[in-house]
Symmetry: C2
Subunit: 457 residues, 2 copies
């Protein structure tokens, strides 16, 4: 029996134990945003650390941060020639409100029709336990062909505020060839899929000032440049009629979609009808020459997130406002960076703000886009593993949103992230009645097992 076969057999024989372990950690209410659950946060971290110790990891440590600890684990017996994979996950969960909409207690996990219902089942204790159990199956039955490190944090649901400082202090511990980010999902229970790209973010506040104070629009209107009108002109000028962004150099570093990517994205179960229905708008439109799926995942954007100027109460006030403010954000794609588009925006404003108006911009948040090459060993290995388990090739998709930790790991550890997890679109993440579909919990374990052998070659 090969190592792989031995591990799969072990996993098959221990399904019940694996499930019991999953239920065990799901009972810990590790809500990161509520201080009264700090002991549960620690208990959850300890639960994971004890699993790693049980697997005879070389190093296991619950490492403090300024708030909730990170569980670190390292198993490097595969040697320096073998690849080293960093597994990223989080053990904290969202709050449970509104509690009265839950069918059962969110921290008393119950199984109904192949699903286990509990807060954190899919996001993401289910994924973390699936990976731990894959490790157990391999290490208890034979030999692990790669080096593994774990970084399981406790602050993801509150925006990972401590992670950047933590990685700056301890980056050397997490040296690796790539990151396997298990905080992910597939398109449907029977639709294996993988995300190979995430959009980044650059979010700005623009403030304009015209007259020194609000003025009477009758007495001064016409003679004084109105910052509200100018704000509109500036934002309007940021896109052309084809919904292309006009900021200088904005597209210079955008990696174009290949013909293969166009074809693959067209195969995703998200036709134009799907987007139209999701939005509830009377029609769709966007950057000319691209489908809605491409516009929302593979192309950069420039969206108004907020506008404020003058009088916005009921009725009328004839004010010529002194100030106007906009929040605008851009979703970025490889190889754009927040710094590049900030430069584009500043150049545009410097060239286009007219006399009579002064301006300033403030960066409010930013995140690098994420990308892992479709032809990389990691993607190919994951693809083969998914195909073996589901019996069909996975679909390749891109995420329109941003996952800050992927950008952070790229920036501070210098490696790309493979997004490989098994949540489903209807898992009720961050909502009442969160669940994990158990057949995919087991298929996830098998996929992770196969992936380790596929990546080792």
């Amino acid at each position: 029996m090969s190592n792989l076969e031995a591990a799969l057999t072990y996993a098959h024989d221990h399904k019940k134990d694996f499930l019991n372990d999953l239920l065990s950690i799901l009972r810990i209410p590790s809500i990161s945003t509520l201080p009264e659950h700090n002991a549960d946060i620690v208990a959850s971290a300890q639960w994971i650390a004890s699993q790693l110790e049980e697997l005879s990891f070389d190093e296991v440590e619950i490492m403090p941060t300024s708030r909730h600890p990170v569980v670190y684990g390292s198993w490097t017996k595969a040697g320096t020639q073998a690849p080293t994979i960093l597994v990223y996950g989080h053990y904290d969960v969202q709050p449970v409100d509104p509690l009265d909409q839950w069918g059962t207690d969110p921290f008393d996990p119950r199984i109904r029709e192949d699903n286990v219902f509990a807060r954190g089942a899919s996001d993401m204790k289910g994924q973390v336990v699936a990976h731990l159990k894959a490790m157990e199956a391999i290490l208890k039955s034979g030999n692990l062909p790669v080096n593994i490190k774990y970084m399981i944090e406790g602050e993801e649901e509150i925006g990972s505020p401590s992670l950047e400082a933590f990685l700056k202090n301890h980056g050397d511990l997490f040296e690796c060839d790539f990151c396997l980010n298990a905080d992910s999902g597939i398109l449907g229970a029977e639709i294996p899929s993988m995300s190979y790209a995430l959009r980044g973010l650059a979010y700005f506040e623009i403030r304009l000032q015209g007259p020194s104070t609000d003025m009477h629009s009758g007495i001064f209107g016409g003679a004084v440049v109105n910052p509200g009108n100018i704000l509109c002109s500036l934002i309007a000028g940021m896109k052309d009629q084809d919904y292309k962004v006009t900021l200088p150099g904005f597209y210079d570093h955008v990696r174009p979609l290949t013909q293969d990517e166009h074809k693959e994205l067209a195969q995703l179960p998200q036709p134009e009808d799907w987007w139209l229905k999701q939005s509830g708008a009377n029609a769709l439109d966007g950057e000319k020459g691209f489908t809605s799926t491409e516009r929302a995942t593979a192309r950069p954007t420039l969206d108004v997130n907020g506008l404020y100027c003058g009088f916005i109460g009921e009725g009328s006030k004839t004010v010529l406002p002194a100030k106007a403010m906009a929040k605008i954000s851009m979703r970025l794609v490889p190889d754009q960076t927040p710094g590049m588009v900030k430069q584009s925006l500043e150049t545009y404003l410097a060239e286009n703000v007219p006399p009579g108006i002064s301006w300033e911009i403030k960066g409010l948040s930013s995140c690098m886009p994420g990308f892992i090459d479709r032809d990389s060993d990691a993607v190919k290995a994951a693809s083969r593993a998914l195909e073996s388990v589901w019996g069909k090739s996975p679909l390749f998709k891109r995420e329109g949103g941003s996952v800050p930790v992927v950008g952070l790991i790229r920036e501070l550890l210098g490696v790309n992230s493979l997004l490989l997890g098994f949540g489903l679109p209807d898992d009720n993440l961050h909502a009442p009645n969160e669940k994990m579909y158990l057949p995919n919990f087991y298929r996830g374990i098998e996929t992770y097992i196969r992936f380790m052998y596929e990546i080792a070659g």
Copy 2:
């Protein structure tokens, strides 16, 4: 001695009595917005009615409205061949807060250095009494060559809410050839001037809707048309780079400035420096081809008064907003009407709102522009009267703001208004230490006397 000379002599001989009568009405705290002053409102109306009765007016009546009464008076012994002038004024005053910033009690009028300090001294009991005393001087000394009607209301400082219904019910009582609106002023104590035009107003709220609810700008950004961006594009498209309004037909009914008007407006004591200093902006700009004074008084505008969309709190929220709202208003000049520009706006929106966005507009307030021909008998008569009293020709100016009662009288009585009053820019209207400059109270009386004989020809 001519009738004019007799009236001027009477006025000269009764200066002390006239002043005492002014002080008498200034002691009545007729604050229209405060219900506890309702008895003072009535006392103030009675004071004016008794003056008219004393002058043997044909009809004098304190006419109720849904809130504060209108004092009506009519003297028509000049006969049907003589012109009939409607004198508009108001006897109500603004509140006095902040009281601690007054040098003396606002309702205990005190004279210091040629000024009488009291709430309502300039706005506008001083002007009303000046006109009443001109009538007294004429009627007590000889013959009034014109017919006179009075409409002195008690709600001007709260926006004249009852006046429209009142005029619709009683319009026939106020039939006249033109209105003399005494609620006005001159540019400086030694700078006689007259306003012959007022801008109108058309104020709208524009509401756009894109997706049916707020969406995640990462997941949907690019695929869904953003109503915030579109609102900016629509407003930007309402003006060109020369700050000309582009709404279809917007300028069709704008009466162009004559060469004489350009010259006259250039002589006003409002050079570019004055506008720059008033605004506090770093530069001025506006409709190409016009001075700031022309832009602010003689040309129509389109100003953003308010903008609201999405998230406007501290920090960032990656929302793709469902809705966006703007309040915009246009100042109108003769012969534009609110209805015309509403049509222009609707046509523009119907042609330019793109697929994916639905829209609606709501008219929030409107007012007709006011204009009285510079070559009309009334303007010429007033001009000669001012020149006789001050010894120099008056300057002709236009008002950038709107005076709703002028539009209302134009609409419901079908006549234009001559703005002829004697307030000064530093009279502290609506502020602590309101005052009237007494030399101009007397010059105002003389001007009104001369005007009656000038207009009679």
